[in-house]
C-alpha cells in the first residue's frame, strides 16, 4: 500500500528555538529548511528494524523478582496513522526516569538516587492492532541543569519507526493533571493547545484488572495515510 505524506500543521509541532532552553539556539537550523516533493526514498523505510536491533521485554517495573520503587503503572499504547488505521509490527523504543526522577545514563548526574531494580528502557513491537503494553513505574519529575527553576514534569520518551522514512517520530508522553505540565518548556513548545493535550496519557478508571497498577492509555499518530487509488 502506497503512503501519502502531507505537510503538517506547524502549530501542532514544536517551535525549534525555545526560550529558556539554552541549547536550542546552537543546534536548530538557521537557514530555511528545503521543501522537496517526497520520492521513493522518503516513502519507503525500514520495516524490519528488529533484525538490526534487539527487542527488549515489556515489563520494566523490576528486575526478576525484585520490584522497582514507585507507583506501578500499566501503559496501553496505540499507534495509528493519519487514517486512524493501526500501525502493526512497528518498533517502539521507550525510555524514562525512575520514580525519583533519575535516569540510568552517564549524562545524568542529578542528586536523585538510582534504583538498582530499575533501568528504564524497553523496545517493543506493536501487535497487528497497533497496540503495545508496558508495565513500569511512574517516572518522577526532575530539575533541568539550567538552575532557573525549570523542572521536567513526569514524562515517558518514545521513538517510533512507522511504515516509511517520513513517519519516523520521537516524542514524549505526559501525565494528566501534573502541576509542572503548565511550565514545561518542551511540552509548551507546541503552540496549539489541543495538540499539547494529545501528548497527555489518559488515566483509565480502575476496574481491578490489573489490580496492582494504575492503567494509562495513550495514542500516537504517525505520519502517513493511504493513497486513494486512481479512478479508471
Amino acid at each position: 500500500m502506497d503512503t501519502v505524506i502531507a505537510p503538517r500543521d506547524e502549530r501542532t509541532q514544536p517551535i525549534r528555538i525555545v526560550p529558556g532552553y539554552p541549547q536550542t539556539p546552537w543546534r536548530n537550523p538557521g537557514e530555511p529548511l528545503v521543501k522537496r516533493a517526497p520520492t521513493l526514498s522518503e516513502l519507503t523505510g525500514p520495516l524490519e528494524v528488529a533484525k538490526r536491533v534487539q527487542l527488549l521485554g515489556g515489563d520494566i517495573a523490576g528486575r526478576g523478582e525484585k520490584q522497582a520503587i514507585g507507583q506501578l503503572m500499566h501503559l496501553r499504547l496505540h499507534v495509528v496513522d493519519e487514517d486512524g488505521s493501526p500501525v502493526g509490527g512497528t518498533v517502539v523504543e521507550i525510555w524514562q526516569a525512575n520514580a525519583a526522577g533519575r535516569y540510568i545514563h552517564p549524562n545524568d548526574d542529578d542528586h536523585a538516587p538510582v534504583d538498582a531494580n530499575f533501568y528504564g528502557a524497553a523496545r517493543l513491537a506493536t501487535d497487528e492492532t497497533g497496540l503495545l503494553e508496558l508495565r513500569t513505574v511512574k517516572p518522577g519529575a526532575y530539575p533541568v541543569p539550567t538552575k532557573d527553576g525549570w523542572w521536567r514534569p513526569p514524562h515517558i520518551h518514545f521513538s517510533i519507526f512507522g511504515r516509511v522514512w517520513l513517519s519516523r517520530l520521537v516524542t514524549q508522553m505526559y501525565f494528566p493533571g501534573e502541576p509542572l505540565n503548565g511550565q514545561d518548556r518542551i511540552l509548551n513548545a507546541v503552540p496549539d493547545a489541543a495538540a499539547r493535550e494529545r501528548l497527555g496519557a489518559r488515566l483509565v478508571p480502575p476496574t481491578g484488572d490489573p489490580h496492582n497498577a494504575l492503567v494509562y492509555e495513550h495514542q500516537i499518530v504517525v505520519r502517513g495515510r493511504k493513497a486513494t487509488p486512481a479512478q479508471p
Binding site: I5, R27, K35, P46, T171, Q172
Partner: protein
C-alpha cells in the same frame, strides 16, 4: 483524519544500549554478507560554534546495490537483496564522530545514488533529515531533491572521497557551512 503527534527532542538520556553493537554495519544481515561494494561513511557533527556533538543519534536509510529499497512501495522490491536491510544507527563519540559500514547504493528510481540521513539530539526539537550524495556522479545534476536545494548550498550534501570507498560527510547543524536540511 487524525493529526500527527507532536515531535519532541530525544533529550540527553537516550539509553546507550539502544545503539546496539553492530547497528552501524549494514553490510550483513542474519550473518550473511550483502551483495555489492563495501564503503565507509564517516563524519563529524558540529553545532553553530563549531563544537563537536557527542551522543547524537544518526540513522541512515538507503537502497541496495541495485538501487532497490527493501519496502513494498518500491515496485522492484521483490528483487531486493535479501541480505540487505538498508537501515542502520550510530551515535557520535566524544569528538562528534559517527561511522557506518555499508554498501555503495545503486540509483533508486528517478534519483541519483544517495544515502538518507536522520539526526536526533538533545535540544533538537524535531528530527533533522538530509541526504548524502556521492562525488563525481553525473546523475547528481538531474536529482530532483538535490535540485530543490539552493545551488550555492548543494556542494554541502556531496561527500568527499578520502580514499577509495571511504567517504567523509560532516554535518553542521547551524551557522557557517550549515548542512541543508529538508522540510517534508
Amino acid at each position: 483524519m487524525m493529526i500527527p503527534t507532536g515531535e519532541a527532542t530525544i533529550g540527553p538520556f537516550f539509553p546507550p544500549r539502544y545503539v546496539d553493537a553492530g547497528a552501524n554495519d549494514l553490510t550483513r544481515l542474519d550473518d550473511r554478507k550483502a551483495e555489492g561494494e563495501v564503503i565507509e561513511i564517516a563524519g563529524v557533527v558540529r553545532q553553530e560554534d563549531g563544537e563537536p556533538l557527542c551522543n547524537l543519534v544518526v540513522e541512515i536509510w538507503q537502497a541496495d546495490a541495485k538501487g532497490i529499497y527493501r519496502h513494498p512501495a518500491d515496485p522492484r522490491h521483490r528483487e531486493a537483496d535479501p541480505r540487505f536491510l538498508g537501515w542502520g544507527r550510530a551515535a557520535t563519540g566524544k569528538e562528534g564522530r559517527y561511522a557506518f559500514r555499508t554498501l555503495r547504493p545503486g540509483a533508486p528510481q528517478g534519483r541519483a545514488r544517495h544515502v538518507n540521513f536522520m539526526l536526533m539530539f538533545s535540544g533538537l526539537m524535531r528530527i533533522l533529515k538530509t541526504a548524502m550524495y556521492f562525488p563525481g556522479e553525473q546523475a547528481n545534476d538531474a536529482d530532483p531533491v538535490l535540485a530543490a536545494v539552493p545551488a550555492a548550498r548543494r556542494a554541502l550534501l556531496i561527500a568527499r572521497e578520502e580514499a577509495p570507498g571511504r567517504y567523509r560527510f560532516d554535518l553542521k547543524l547551524r551557522g557557517t557551512h550549515e548542512t541543508p536540511f529538508f522540510d517534508d
